[in-house]
Symmetry: C2
Subunit: 390 residues, 2 copies
């Protein structure tokens, strides 16, 4: 009966496979495969017989790994993260993004695999885990993982990444969002401004403007946007680089800034989470926000409206970002299956300045620095869309 398998050991011993079931029913392996995967290829009577035999033998259905090999598809897509996958759940903004991805994929029956970009021993998830496509999120382009995953030539969508080589990507107008934030404090009349950037690599702490560059696309872009506008306004900001993007990571920033520029009146932070740390520190130090200090965050984290004062920030739509990334990837995977090339798409989502209660004119108003634009008086709308130009 059997063509290939040599052990004729009978039922009950060892693993139950298609062949075991086929032998039991007295049909070919193919017929059993069809019974499970293409019901229309055989009579329902025979199919029932096969399924019944499978049931008796405790056969669970086609082995997913074998099927993945034979079909060339695994049923799951990966998300490659530069941070620990644990942070995907911890950070509210990231969580909303991933939640949106999961919500887009699961109705399509696609599982979501979280991949660390850190190698552990000799295994590198980005290289070694089987998947049908990858969303590369906010991942250090220098990292080996990013390169590994590119080389696998899987369908790929880059998110919050510089889009170099013609991949599909979803990005956010980080730079113009940051420009809007900076312009906002300039318009309010601030001239002593500090920036809190985010970087995974040294130098940390107060850095020279020249050596300040974020690690990762978003932090690079936001820093650039802030500095452009401030420079145009004749303001040279104090720049602090922090490694941890969280409320805890933002704590201590205020003190460090005030040490080098005691009369700072406005702080622009890489994220709302970090800004929250500043707000807490300010509160503890008896510094009133926004009366004595203005603070602007980024993201429009749900946190922003829970804080007191509510945080002025730059909104990005992470839900849409996730939905787009996932659906672009799904499309690319369909193209791949159909053997047609995927037209790379590069989408950039807008950002929007959301003015809340953490910003106000500086304490000693009326003396804006040379070159600063006058604050637009009167009823400025509480929300402004920066232009899409970077």
């Amino acid at each position: 009966m059997r063509a290939v398998r040599l052990d004729e050991s009978e039922v009950g011993v060892g693993r139950v496979t298609l062949q075991t079931v086929a032998d039991r029913v007295g049909v070919s392996r193919m017929t059993v495969s069809n019974a499970f995967s293409r019901p229309d290829q055989l009579s329902s009577a025979l199919r029932d017989k096969v399924l019944k035999a499978a049931e008796e033998l405790g056969y669970t259905g086609p082995d997913p790994s074998a099927r993945a090999l034979a079909r060339g598809s695994t049923g799951s897509v990966g998300v490659l993260l530069s941070n620990s996958p644990a942070e995907a759940f911890t950070d509210e903004v990231a969580a909303a993004f991933f939640s949106s991805i999961a919500a887009t994929l699961s109705p399509r029956g696609i599982a979501l695999t979280l991949l660390s970009s850190e190698p552990s021993g000799d295994v590198m998830p980005a290289r070694d885990v089987a998947m049908d496509g990858v969303i590369v999120y906010n991942c250090d382009p220098e990292s080996g993982a990013r390169e590994q995953v590119e080389r696998r030539k899987l369908p790929l969508v880059l998110v919050d990444q510089p889009n170099t080589r013609g991949f599909s990507s979803v990005n956010v107008e980080d730079r113009s969002g940051a420009r809007a934030a900076a312009q906002h404090v300039v318009d309010l009349g601030h001239s002593r401004v500090a920036l809190i950037g985010k970087t995974g690599v040294p130098p940390f702490g107060i850095v020279e403007s020249s050596s300040a560059k974020g690690q990762g696309y978003a932090s690079t872009e936001r820093l650039a946007g802030w500095i452009e506008v401030l420079t145009e306004a004749g303001i040279e900001p104090v720049i602090l680089q922090e490694p941890i993007d969280s409320t805890a990571g933002g704590r201590g920033a205020l003190k460090a800034i005030l040490e080098v520029q005691p009369d700072t009146t406005a702080i622009l932070a890489f994220s709302d989470a970090m800004a929250a740390g500043v707000l807490l520190d300010a509160h503890d130090a008896g510094i009133s926000v926004p009366d004595q200090l203005s603070v602007v965050g980024f993201d429009d984290n749900p946190l922003a409206t829970r804080l007191r004062p509510q945080l002025t920030t730059v909104r990005q739509d992470v839900t849409e970002k996730g939905r787009l990334a996932a659906s672009m990837l799904v499309e690319a995977m369909a193209d791949r299956r159909a053997g047609r090339p995927t037209e790379p798409r590069a989408v950039t989502l807008t950002t929007e300045l959301v003015v809340r209660d953490s910003t106000a004119p500086p304490p000693r108003a009326g003396k804006p620095p040379e070159g600063a634009k006058r604050p637009q008086d009167g009823k400025r709308p509480r929300t402004r869309r920066p232009s899409a130009r970077a």
Copy 2:
């Protein structure tokens, strides 16, 4: 040279495999495999040569699916969720749990795959996705997915699940935690109590005590714990079943409860998230918590201390729950690889009543119902550990 492949088509056409590289270098497929996977099995000179050829050919390394089939291991573990995977990120308590799992797995080079238990078309992730082990989280035992994954005979850890068939499990003292919550309001003198349960299946809304059973282990246990204590105290609670475990899901509950029992003075909620909805509704309705209404949640969600008043709740350690589940699974997978049987372990984590500001004696105090225990006066500690007995 080749034993199996029939097409002798040359380099550059089609997929690059071990064989392609082997042909290029003039060695066997095995040698190339060794070069990648067992460097010590060949001279480093030859290895370099092989790696160089692979580089030139754009060979990325062994195909993960093929390797998974050959090795019998995929490098990722699944988490099976009854809710949409999207909620894994949305719900703060679930997110902390998954974060802890991810933090435990990723240093070991293991990826985490989120699996919906809902079938979509003909694909059922629980049956069709390749993985080395599964954490079954809070999953309806009736669900096909739960059964599917059991039948695959993968290493398994059940979390927040009734532990029936000798699987390893991590559970929480839901019942005694709920008992402590109920005892707390009884001790305070409440006699008009309402419960907000969580269930995925009808009936929803106000239900009879007899027909009230949660869907899912945690909700069943919590409900049972509340009812036990209240019954002992001679109190028959109003029971409301809600389908959505979130702040939004908790909204509307207060109104529904007050319609059937206008003089309700205490509400015990399945989760802090739902309790938050009650607090918001109470605020909107001008009902003062805890003066007019006491509210107790469950979980000790970070949310609990952000609310005003801060929420009295029952703490569970979800981080430890995640760490334990992941490490037990890792152990079981190691056993499997080593061919030794796994001794199933059933761990139950303690819960702890945390008294904050959302509970107080009922407005018209001094008239506890017959059979109710007297509140313990004086300086009761703000935190009490219920006994482990259910």
